[in-house]
């Protein structure tokens, strides 16, 4: 809880720093605040997990590990922001403040134990992002991204709320323990309202995590927003939404899996194929990453499909692998876009010669996304496939394997462009700034470390 309070205060402090025009102090203050919040989260690790504040929030190992991941990712993303925000706007305090507020919402979503907190957390997380997506006010692409994100966000919140209402109508409580008790006590006479509620919750959460057929906003919003904001959306927001998804289905709906398994199965298959095949056809790196994030949502849903003791650790490892690689991917795109002025694949030509470190870290990130052994992405995919195997979803596994192969194609395309094609005429070689080097090296080391010693993460739960 202390972490959430720290972050809320940090946001207000940042606004005051902006008011007094101390622009140099913004980034250091934010990073110190994030570190303090991280410290509080780690301190809570040893404590007994009981629902606090009349059962509103719970800080179990699940919530804490996902919160720590969210905070670390935000810190990495903000490290990339050093010269980024001041280049696109004069009011840079708002960026930091809104990102910190959005992170506060993400932590609430990770730790909810009552639907009120789930709803409030999702709203805090998204309302800040509606503004961030459209923060380039004169840019029509940014405008469109913001508008679409707003409409789709509000629309999906409507579904989520209708689901919550129906569950309330069936059980008379918003509390997760109460709902679980209802499912356990009345295995035969579960009200039809409850089933309808599950369906609406499923639709709302699929919207939030960007799973097909509710993914249509993802590519447009990710493509139109400023790249750094896209990074934040595709990592922190997605991780938090998956934490909420898994907590709800694991804790409350697990006993009714006969009802929702077929639906989720269909969602996963559609998501995998739509995400991978669309990603294969892109010529823009940014849009390719957007579709690949849809595809990865499909893989992460495996853990929810076959719930078990390994679901939480599986989804956590997958989220770590996916987010670290995404940060590197989008970070590279920031540099390439800045110096070569384009986000197409051809803008990456010749990077292997001019920027060896950048090329190596991006290669590692792409291999991790593709799921090649010795990287974190392989361990994530392996754990997901094992959970599905334990439940005998053999057809699904075959389809997923086909998709993994499609994935390798478009991730390797970037590497081919970097190493085997010479630079276009008129592009200038550039030097990687120090903060980028730092973030990329940290991400690369973590990716390899998790790939070689996955026990350090699996043992957390």
């Amino acid at each position: 809880m202390a972490a959430i309070i720290t972050l809320s205060l940090l946001g207000i402090v940042l606004l005051y720093i902006g008011l007094y025009k101390a622009k140099k102090a913004l980034l250091p203050t934010t990073l110190i605040g994030l570190l303090v919040a991280l410290g509080f989260e780690i301190c809570d690790w040893g404590k007994e997990a009981v629902p606090l504040f009349h059962g509103m929030v719970i800080f179990d190992h699940f919530a804490l590990s996902f919160s720590i991941l969210c905070i670390l990712l935000t810190a990495l993303i903000l490290l990339l922001s050093k010269a980024y925000f001041s280049a696109i706007s004069t009011n840079i305090a708002e960026y930091y403040c809104l990102i910190v507020f959005s992170l506060t919402g993400a932590l609430l979503v990770n730790a909810y134990h009552n639907f009120a907190i789930l709803f409030i957390g999702i709203e805090i997380m998204s309302v800040a992002l509606y503004i961030l997506a459209g923060i380039r006010r004169k840019d029509l692409y940014s405008n469109e991204a913001s508008l679409k994100y707003f409409i789709m966000g509000a629309f999906s919140t409507g579904f989520l709320l209708f689901g919550i209402t129906l569950l309330y109508g069936a059980t008379g409580t918003f509390d997760l323990s109460g709902l679980r008790q209802y499912v356990v006590d009345t295995p035969q006479g579960i009200s039809p309202l409850f089933y309808a509620g599950i369906l609406f919750m499923l639709v709302g959460l699929c919207f939030k995590v960007g799973a097909a057929p509710f993914h249509f906003w993802v590519p447009d919003v990710y493509d139109g927003s400023p790249i750094l904001i896209t990074t934040y959306m595709s990592t922190v927001v997605k991780v938090a939404s998956f934490a909420a998804f898994l907590r709800l289905f694991d804790y409350v709906f697990a006993a009714l899996n006969d009802f929702w398994t077929p639906i989720l199965l269909a969602v996963i298959v559609i998501t995998l194929f739509v995400g991978n095949i669309s990603a294969l056809m892109q010529t823009s790196f940014k849009r390719m990453l957007a579709y690949s994030s849809v595809a990865h949502a499909g893989y992460m849903l495996f853990a929810i499909l076959s719930l078990g003791a390994n679901s939480a650790s599986g989804i956590f490892v997958y989220a770590v692998a996916y987010s670290l690689s995404s940060v590197v991917g989008f970070g590279t795109l920031i540099l390439v876009k800045k110096y070569n002025g384009s986000d197409q694949f051809i803008a990456f030509n010749g990077l292997g010669k001019s920027n060896p470190l950048l090329a190596v870290t991006l290669t590692l990130a792409m291999l991790s996304l593709a799921g090649i052994p010795l990287t974190a992405g392989f361990i994530g995919k392996f754990m997901m496939f094992t959970t599905a195997m334990n439940d005998y979803h053999i057809t699904l596994l075959l389809l997923a394997a086909v998709n993994a192969i499609i994935g390798v194609f478009y991730y390797l395309r970037v590497i081919v462009h970097m190493y085997f094609k010479s630079a276009e005429e008129g592009t200038t070689p550039f030097v990687m700034p120090l903060n980028f080097k730092m973030v990329f090296v940290i991400a690369a080391i973590l990716t390899l470390a998790v790939g070689i010693y996955p026990q350090c993460l699996i043992g957390l739960f």
Binding site: V127, I131, R137, L140, N143, A154, Q282
Partner: protein, 109 residues
């Protein structure tokens, strides 16, 4: 207060359920088929308000106040959301002189 609860209970719960579902469906269809952003926002409000009414009805029937408290959360957050949403619409209008979704649509494939 008892008077109000009795009034609410004067109508069968199923009627509330059917009515709210219809209003919600009208909201969903409005979002999906209309292209004017203001009307889309009105449709979203319709969805949220059907939720509010249903929550109040369930709450009155069960004699449990938490549903009504949730209505306040929904109203407060919907207001916050719409404030940001209208700001976005104004920003779009300044750039395109239109509140039509099709006027943007730069991002395709």
């Amino acid at each position: 207060m008892d008077h109000i609860v009795q009034n609410i209970q004067g109508i069968p719960l199923n009627h509330y359920l059917i009515f709210c579902s219809i209003v919600f469906a009208i909201g969903v269809i409005g979002v999906l088929i209309r292209r004017n952003v203001i009307i889309i926002m009105m449709s979203i409000e319709l969805m949220l308000n059907s939720v509010n009414l249903l929550l109040a009805a369930f709450s009155a029937y069960r004699g449990d106040a938490s549903g009504q408290v949730f209505v306040f959360f929904v109203m407060a957050l919907a207001a916050a959301e719409v404030a940001v949403g209208l700001a976005i619409v104004i920003m779009v209008y300044r750039n395109t002189k239109s509140v039509d979704l099709e006027s943007l649509s730069k991002l395709r494939w």
